[in-house]
């Protein structure tokens, strides 16, 4: 448990605090991990095989302290993984990332796909918001109980998905008309700044990874 806790503090929370995104990070991470975390907690606490220290018993299921311990450890690992991913997206500009990837020789098409997939999320949300407004104006009930809300999803999801698919054809033609399919490298308009401290941080991450792998190979295991 010490390992994931130390990682959560050092690798996720400390950089998030420096970047001043702790609140956003926690919200995104919790949202990302909630479904998996719930099942991890239920399965490990209630069905941990060989658990002896009984916390409580309800019918055929027995919650054990060992199961709870394992659940917390797995949860912490999950939080570290999703926290690191969220931190990356919260602090890295998609345009800078893909420009830098291209500069380092990644195919422009691959960079475009990576960038477009990130950038399309807010556009999709805006489209969904506009469609929700339009459907509400026609009397669709998007509020109320869970069942009413679930019923309201169908007339919203349809136009969002179909609209996005419809856009693809014209977007493809527009990209072709702008020379997107030309083989060879593109001209880069600018290079993202790469400060010495960022380079040092990258090497530090690589060194830490190697050190951790070596320590594990030599039998070190934090409690």
């Amino acid at each position: 448990m010490v390992g994931p806790l130390a990682l959560a503090g050092l690798v996720v929370l400390l950089p998030a605090a420096v970047a001043r995104v702790v609140r956003k990070l926690l919200r995104a991470t919790l949202l990302l991990t909630l479904p998996v975390a719930t099942s991890v907690l239920v399965i490990n606490v209630l069905f941990f095989p060989g658990g002896r220290d009984v916390l409580f018993q309800a019918g055929p299921v027995t919650a054990t302290r060992e199961g709870l311990g394992l659940a917390i450890e797995v949860l912490l690992r999950l939080l570290v993984i999703s926290g690191a991913i969220s931190l990356f997206y919260l602090t890295t500009s998609a345009a800078e990332l893909t420009t830098d990837l291209e500069r380092r020789g990644v195919s422009p098409r691959l960079a475009f796909v990576a960038n477009a997939s990130v950038q399309s999320v807010p556009a999709m949300l805006e489209r969904a918001a506009a469609i929700i407004e339009a459907q509400r104006a026609r009397g669709l009930d998007t509020e109320g109980g869970p069942l009413a809300r679930a019923r309201g999803i169908v007339p919203i999801v349809g136009p969002v998905i179909l609209g996005a698919i419809g856009e693809v054809e014209q977007r493809t033609l527009a990209l072709e008309a702008r020379g997107f399919s030309r083989p060879g490298p593109r001209t880069l308009l600018w290079h993202p700044a790469d400060r010495p401290i960022e380079r040092a941080a990258r090497w530090l991450i690589v060194a830490a990874l190697v050190a951790l792998l070596a320590a594990r190979a030599l039998g070190w295991h934090p409690a």
């Binding site: 072709e176 020379g179 593109r186």
Partner: protein
């Protein structure tokens, strides 16, 4: 000069030709309006002019399309796009969706052509200034008005350096002020020597920018001539083309019993 020589085009699986034996010529600095009812083949003709049909959208084509006397059929797409540009009706889908500023958006096309950075910068600067939208350079293209986005899309085409521009309903989704911005841009492009083919349902725009008009029906050119005269032709209404508001007003006044000579 952009020339269609007896062009016939069938969509993939299509029985009837979508474009049937069309011959047309656009001179330098000339703006030609292309009108017709729904399904008359206007958009298909635009795709053919830009080389996107049949090579990207499929189908079969006979006849030739020439740019300054050179057949476009054997030209690679990335060479063709630097000579003929095409703009579509929806400004949003024409934007690359991956750039954070108008400047980068306009640079997207020429950057794909792999030209030296200095040339790229000078082309982007020239395109922005040609449409008088330099002040938008640092703005996020996703947060502009429809008219401004359409201008950015057109600037992106201009930065590719084409001498021929095809615009398929460039103001379809724009309000009057956006339409006016695009009309100004078309006039400016023509004055700089570009030949422009404009498809529009808004015949007011055609009346303002085009000297020559081509009317399409069933994939064939059925009328061609001076825009001012043809737009006043009552047969246009039967072909599904809405007359310009000035013509409509004049017709209504005449129908109400007023003397057209006195009106003139």
């Amino acid at each position: 000069m952009l020339t269609f020589e007896s062009v016939t085009y069938r969509h993939a699986g299509g029985v009837r030709p979508a474009i049937d034996d069309v011959s047309l010529e656009l001179g330098e600095g000339e703006v030609v309006g292309l009108v017709g009812g729904n399904g008359s083949g206007k958009s298909t003709l635009c795709l053919i002019a830009a080389g996107l049909a049949p090579r990207i959208v499929g189908g079969t084509l006979s006849g030739r399309i020439l740019i300054d006397g050179e057949d476009i059929a054997p030209m690679p797409m990335h060479e063709l796009v630097a000579r003929v540009a095409i703009g579509f009706d929806d400004p949003w889908t024409q934007l690359s969706g991956v750039t954070g500023t108008v400047y980068e958006e306009v640079a997207f096309g020429p950057a794909n052509l792999g030209m030296p950075r200095d040339e790229l910068v000078s082309r982007v600067d020239a395109a922005l200034s040609s449409l008088a939208i330099e002040q938008l350079a640092a703005r996020d293209p996703a947060h502009l008005s429809g008219g401004q986005q359409q201008l950015v899309a057109i600037a992106g085409l201009l930065a590719m350096g084409p001498r021929h521009i095809v615009l398929d309903e460039p103001t379809a989704q724009l309000d009057p002020s956006g339409t006016s911005l695009v009309a100004n841009a078309i006039e400016r492009l023509a004055s700089e020597g570009a030949s422009v083919l404009v498809v529009e349902h808004k015949t007011d725009l055609i009346a303002r920018v085009a000297k020559r008009l081509v009317v399409l029906a069933g994939g064939t050119i059925v009328m061609e001539g001076a825009a001012a005269e043809l737009l006043a032709d009552p047969r246009l209404r039967d072909l599904g083309v809405r007359e310009p508001s000035a013509v409509r007003l004049r017709r209504r006044l005449v129908e109400a019993g007023l003397d057209p000579v006195a009106l003139a």
